[in-house]
Amino acid sequence: MIARSQRERLLEAAVRVVAEQGYAATTVADLTREAGISRTTFYAMFEDKEACFLAAYDVVVDTLVRRIASAYEAEEGWPRRARAGLAALLDALAEEPELARLALVDVGAAGPAAQRRYRAALQRLTPFFDEGRDFAPGGRNLPANTSRMAIGAVAGLISDELAAGRAGQLPDLLSEVLFATLVPYIGPVAAAREAG
């Protein structure tokens, strides 16, 4: 029980520290100090800084996906569900800009394993997009990669805002990210109508 809470404290500390000073500049000593644990305890739980960061990253992604899912599932009809899910994502990222940068931008600096985690995290959104296939007329004939494309488009729009330091304005991006989500399934005319 105590071991579990130490782990949680450490993961929270890792998110804070890496978000604040960047992955490259973060040391294990920074993490243990921020979490108030010993070096021995750290190494009993994780092999190195990267392993700890990856575990912390998973927690961040879990939280985001849960928040998206509960907003999405509260609505009926795919375009409305997509709108609610995307709004929840943008709000969550806008509330915690450092976390947003960590989750979508700085993760690339933490090496190939972290990059794979990032791509895997994006793919966890696939079920929310795939419902567009059932909704769209002829949706079954769309390329197998359609949800990956839509996710890439959404991630591109969001990353561009984050890189420009506009995390706080992310909620204003809702109609664009909704358009990007809907358009491969229902086309630009219907997507613009839904997103407007």
Binding site: V105, G108, A109, G111, P112, Q115, R116, R119, L122, A136, G138, N141, L142, P143, N145, T146, R148, M149, A150, I151, G152, A153, V154, A155, G156, L157, S159, D160, A163, S175, E176, F179, A180, V183, P184, Y185, I186, G187, P188, V189, A192, A195
Partner: protein
């Protein structure tokens, strides 16, 4: 001239080494060994590894862009241009997986300024291919629609490269074409183009 070409040798070596070892693991020693130059020469041209990488990245983008323009100019329609442009990029990446990895994957590990360069390059390619607005027949499209295409296309390419499947990129061309076109012309027309290219390929 001699020093100019030595500089380019170093830049080309940087692209190859980063593409095979990864940015973090690459040292100045690796690069000068690959380039066959001295440390002194390296530091005459560049402040450090990062400085050299940024210059190498700029060179890489210019090379890829020049290839795309060379294959795209002329009397082509927008659709042909998008298709030729994407085909040029995936073929280039397929024959030179190290360049591809440096261009798309490793650049993310090289700091915020490098990532910005990558994104600027992607935006430049999509803007070049962007005349697609004409095809929307005066319909109102979102202002940043080319960013959507860019994100969709670069996400697919990123996943392939991260999985070490550079050689299989040309097989993805129909999907990439769909991703690029769909925000402009919708799924039915984009799927027609996709099938046409798949049948021709």
């Amino acid at each position: 001239m001699a020093s100019q070409s030595r500089r380019e040798l170093i830049l080309a070596a940087m692209i190859r080494v980063v593409g095979s070892k990864g940015y973090k693991e690459t040292s100045v020693a690796d690069v000068i060994e690959e380039a066959g130059t001295s440390r002194t020469t390296f530091y005459k041209h560049f402040e450090d590894k990062h400085d050299c990488f940024l210059a190498a990245y700029d060179m890489l983008v210019e090379q890829v862009f020049a290839e795309v323009v060379a294959n795209c100019d002329g009397e082509q329609s927008w659709l042909e241009r998008v298709e030729r442009g994407l085909a040029t990029i995936v073929e280039l990446f397929a024959v030179d997986p190290q360049l591809a990895r440096t261009a798309v994957v490793e650049v993310a590990a090289a700091g915020a300024d490098a990532r910005q360069r990558h994104w600027n390059a992607v935006a430049r390619f999509t803007a070049y291919l962007e005349d697609g607005r004409e095809l929307a027949n005066g319909r109102e499209l979102p202002e940043n629609i080319s960013l959507m295409s860019a994100g969709a296309v670069s996400g697919l390419i990123f996943d392939e490269l991260l999985a070490g499947r550079a050689a299989q990129l040309p097989a993805l061309l129909p999907d990439l074409l769909f991703a690029m076109l769909v925000p402009y012309i919708g799924p039915r027309a984009a799927a027609d183009e996709m099938r046409r290219v798949a049948a021709a390929g």
